[in-house]
């Protein structure tokens, strides 16, 4: 095989591999992803990644479980959550959290260890000028 | 007030430092130094390649004919660089 043809062949193989990788990428990501949503948007029978704020005064412990209510960042609609697993250190009422799970009979049952609390804002919009 | 004063002072210092080259003259020598430095760097790199090739041969990665061919090519390239270095005044 002359070198030019060999090189073209290699190029085709490389492009084919790239196309294969790209399709694997797209397929697996769309099928394995969880949809991000707000508490006011969750519906039963679907896995979600819920983002919202912990409602003040709603945090309680029942044995190993953590219970709290989560509300929309800018709203009042809230959903009760039952969570088991590691609770991140910054977890507090009023803080923004992300938790994955499913809505079952009115309560959002969370996946184990899926609770993420956003670090309190270091870079805020408020500026203090002299 | 402190800000304005500091601004003017610092700007003046910087202006002084960056204006100096315009007051000095003649750097044909600097040109030559630059060319010499570039050729020297290329020479060092070529020497390293020659040594690397020999190490590869001694470690058994290159066959003797392959090494001879590569060595010949690299050495002629190095000689060319040395010639150009010699041509500099």
């Amino acid at each position: 095989m002359d070198p030019a043809r060999k090189r073209r062949l290699r190029l085709i193989v490389a492009l084919g591999a790239a196309a294969a990788l790209a399709s694997v990428l797209v397929y697996t990501s769309f099928s394995a992803s969880t949809e991000a949503s707000k508490p006011s948007q969750v519906r039963p029978g679907h896995a979600y990644e819920l983002t919202g704020k912990v409602v003040n005064g709603s945090v309680s412990h029942a044995g190993d479980e953590l219970r709290f209510r989560i509300r929309d960042r800018d709203g009042h609609r809230s959903v009760p959550v039952r969570y088991a697993g590691a609770v991140p250190d910054p977890f507090r009422e009023g803080r923004e959290v992300i938790v994955s799970g499913e809505l079952r009979s009115g309560t959002f049952v969370a996946e184990r260890d899926s609770l993420v609390t956003k670090c309190p804002s270091k870079f805020t919009k408020e500026k203090r000028r002299s | 007030m402190e800000y304005a004063l500091a601004f003017l002072l610092l700007a003046a210092v910087v202006a002084l430092v960056v204006a100096l080259p315009f007051l000095r003259t003649g750097s044909a020598e600097a040109e030559e130094d630059a060319r010499r430095a570039e050729l020297d760097a290329a020479k060092e790199a070529k020497y390293r390649e020659i040594r690397d090739a020999e190490l590869d041969y001694r470690m058994g990665k290159l066959s003797q004919e392959d090494w001879r061919a590569v060595d010949r090519e690299l050495r002629s390239e190095a000689i060319e660089i040395l010639r150009r270095l010699d041509r500099l005044p």
Binding site: L21, L25, S29, A32, S33, T34, E35, A36, H61, G63, A86, D89, P90, E96, D113, T117, K118, C119, P120, K122, F123, T124, K125, R128, S130 | M1, Y3, A6, F7, L10, A11, V14, V17, V18, A19, P21, F22, R24, S27, E29, A30, E31, D33, A34, R36, A37, A41, E44, A45, D52, L55, D56, R58, G60, K61, L62, S63, D66, V70, P89
Partner: protein, 719 residues
């Protein structure tokens, strides 16, 4: 003094723009004086940034709360070390850090290349000046670190306790050194493209900077992982969090760049790859800097929308557009005449290496930005989690390790099959032995990817060992030296090569640790009362007693209250004790009661880890404060507005109550094998990089001597 600091920034901005302008003018008109002036302007910029940083640091050390930044991030009771490092815990301070590092690096590279690269250096100066100007504009216009408060408070907010960890405080400067370092090869690549001098000159001048940047970036990533493992309560070191990914991507691209430039230096090939890789690495470094402060992705680190997100996005867009346009315009100058001779050559493997690393980078990029992609395509913001990342990156990582083993044993241009057989026989034999040993002696077969990784790690270590051995014996046939000296001389005379081999070995060991600890760790979450015990991974853990400390936590972070536990761990003859705890920091929130203030602020886990070469025992505790709830509220009611002394007495009583009547506490115990080797492997890689970057004194001496000889010749002929 704050006014002087602000003036440093403003003058710095003009200086940077001046440097860019005169350098371009001088280069286009061939007027050397202008170019020199531009270079000196960069020196001035470095001086200004140093002065500004010194002013800010002195404000922190003096606890001068008239500075908004000091009031925000420090307090009089913050330990000294954290006062110094608090500067880059804030947005403004970290922008100043970027500008400082950029100006210092720029000054260094321009000083080192002041006599060479005459055509390229001016354009590089211009690029560096523009980038510096961007960061300065951000500070002058939006986030000035020298902002003062009209009414300085008596006490500052103090540093977020989660950040009070040595690794977390060195993490930003180390990471930024990595990001900034890559701007140097980028600037020179742009210069090379503009002037059409697309040979290896720009690479030779900036190679060391790229290597140093890569090393710092890698170290920064590892520090972050170490912090996550030892400081956070979940016991892992990598979560595929967007911010973690944002630092990994430039590192991967930088790795590809460092390898790919070797091909251009040796054979003049892969030039398009190299300029693309360096531009990509720099853009990814900017994205990494930007992601932490943008709020566009949900992450544990994302702090919501910030004031400079849009500006960053615009700047990144400009850099991308400029780079792409420039590369496309110079495509004819970049095509190499040499072609790939054979697939069994170092060049081919380096090309394959590029493809795998870029592939890894793209996978991670896709996963990280998936929420935005899916929102754009489907309208729903969906995200992918660690399982997806693991599934896609593990195969690519396996290929990468395989390549890192084969690459070093190949030669340039072409390797004959016979030659290949000779170099691969021993490593393959050892790998096979390892495979058999693993199958028979351990249960590694339970996780096939880990088994494959273990075998490949053996292969890499064997191949590297063989290289050292063969190289030393090749020396000995010529010089007859003893083995130790032959090895040292070998590495000393071929620093790039053998330093690089050591890096490969280090990374292989790192992957060994990652594979073992991810696939074979044992985790248990339990609730225990004192006296109870549980079993995990052949260990028996007994909760001996609770602990309560007031004012003086073991980690030195200045926490007033520290509640924890003492646990005895036993396995066969081995016995040790662990002291995990949880620190509580008071909140300044005025709506909280006087006493509950101390329990409702930040809290963080002081994890106790027993390190071991074979496995780590990691333990975290989460005391249950529910039993103290009523006494705390009672105290709030009875002592509103109490003085500090009264508060201390009340707190002491409460913590004593916790100690004497402890409720069950939640524990998490993780036994992970070979975690220590992750950090050891990283350290080996850094050592290898140091060896590779170390300049060879003989070469420099020769160069300097020849310059002096030339000067002597000129002056003599003039006399």
């Amino acid at each position: 003094m704050a006014g002087i600091g602000s003036a440093c920034l403003a003058v710095g901005l003009f200086t940077a723009l001046y440097a860019a302008g005169v350098s371009i003018y001088g280069a286009r008109r061939g007027r050397r004086a202008w170019v020199t002036s531009g270079r000196r302007a960069i020196y001035c910029l470095a001086g200004l940034m140093v002065a500004g940083t010194a002013i800010l640091q002195s404000a922190f050390l003096r606890s001068d709360f008239s500075y908004a930044l000091v009031a925000e991030g420090s307090s009089t009771d913050t330990p000294g070390f954290y006062k110094v490092t608090a500067m880059w815990a804030t947005q403004d301070g970290s922008l100043l850090l970027w500008a400082l590092l950029l100006s210092l690096f720029s000054a260094a590279v321009l000083f080192l290349t002041r006599r060479s690269l005459r055509e390229i250096a001016p354009y590089a100066t211009a690029v560096l000046g523009v980038v510096a100007a961007f960061f300065l504009v951000l500070m002058v216009g939006w986030e000035n670190p020298f902002d003062t408060l009209a009414a300085p408070p008596m006490e500052g907010n103090g540093l977020n306790p989660l950040l009070r960890h040595p690794a977390m405080m060195i993490h930003p400067p180390v990471l930024y050194t990595g990001y900034v370092g890559f701007s140097i090869p980028f600037a020179f690549a742009v210069g090379a493209l503009v002037t059409r001098r697309t040979g290896a000159d720009w690479i030779r001048a900036t190679r060391r900077f790229a290597l140093v940047a890569w090393t710092f970036l890698g170290t920064g990533i590892m520090l972050g992982a170490l912090w996550s493992y030892t400081e956070l309560g979940w016991g892992g070191y990598w979560a595929w969090d967007p911010v973690e990914n944002a630092s990994l991507m430039p590192w991967l691209a930088g790795t590809a760049f460092l390898h790919s430039i070797m091909v251009q230096e040796k054979r003049g090939m892969l030039r398009i790859w190299n300029v693309s890789l360096v531009c990509g690495t720099f853009v990814l470094a900017l994205i990494g800097t930007f992601l932490v402060r943008s709020g566009i992705l949900d992450s544990i680190h994302a702090f919501g929308a910030s004031t400079i997100g849009t500006q960053f996005l615009v700047f990144i867009g400009v850099v991308v557009a400029f780079s792409v346009a420039l590369i496309l315009a110079r495509l004819p100058d970049l095509r190499s005449r040499a072609k790939l001779d054979s697939l069994l050559s170092r060049e081919a493997f380096f090309l394959l290496n590029n493809l795998v690393l870029v592939g890894l980078c793209l996978v991670i990029m896709w996963g990280t930005f998936f929420p935005l992609i899916s929102e754009a395509l489907t309208g729903d913001k969906a995200s992918v989690g660690p399982p997806w990342f693991d599934r896609l990156t593990v195969p690519l990582a396996i290929v990468l390790v395989l390549l890192s083993g084969i690459g070093p044993v190949l030669a340039w241009r072409r390797v004959t099959l016979r030659g290949l057989r000779r170099v691969l026989v021993a490593p393959l034999a050892l790998t096979l032995l390892a495979l058999l040993a693993l199958l028979v002696l351990t249960d590694a077969s339970q996780s096939p990817p880990s088994l494959v990784m273990f075998c490949l790690v053996t292969f890499v270590l064997a191949a590297v060992g063989q290289e050292f051995w063969r190289g030393a014996s090749a020396r000995r046939t010529v010089t007859g030296e003893p083995w130790p000296r032959a090895l040292v001389r070998l590495a000393g005379r071929n620093r790039r090569r053998y330093g690089g081999y050591l890096v490969h070995a280090g990374i292989a060991v790192l992957f060994l640790g990652v594979a073992a600890s991810s696939a074979f760790h044992d985790q248990r979450d339990v609730r225990l009362s004192p006296g109870q015990s549980f079993r995990t991974g052949h260990y028996t853990v007994t909760y001996r007693k609770p602990t309560a400390r007031l004012g003086g936590d073991s980690a030195g972070t200045g926490a007033p209250i520290s509640l924890g536990a003492v646990l005895d761990v036993k396995k066969g003859d081995q016995r040790f004790t662990l002291h995990p705890a949880r620190n509580y920091y008071p909140t300044q929130d005025p709506s909280k009661g006087v006493v509950s203030r101390y329990f409702e602020g930040e809290a963080n886990s002081e994890v106790d880890v027993r390190w071991g070469l074979k496995r780590d025992f990691w333990l975290a505790v989460r005391p249950d404060l529910a039993s103290l709830d009523r006494p705390i509220r009672e105290a709030d009611r009875r002592f509103p507005g109490a003085s500090n002394d009264v508060q201390a007495v009340v707190i002491a009583a409460l913590t004593e109550r916790y100690r004497s009547h402890p409720p069950p506490a939640a524990f998490r115990a993780i036994v992970s094998p070979l975690v220590l080797w992750i950090w050891i492997g990283g350290a080996i890689a850094v050592l290898g990089a140091l060896i590779a970057v170390w300049p060879a004194p003989e070469a420099r001496l020769r160069r300097v001597r020849s310059l002096y000889a030339a000067r002597l010749g000129r002056e003599l002929s003039r006399a």
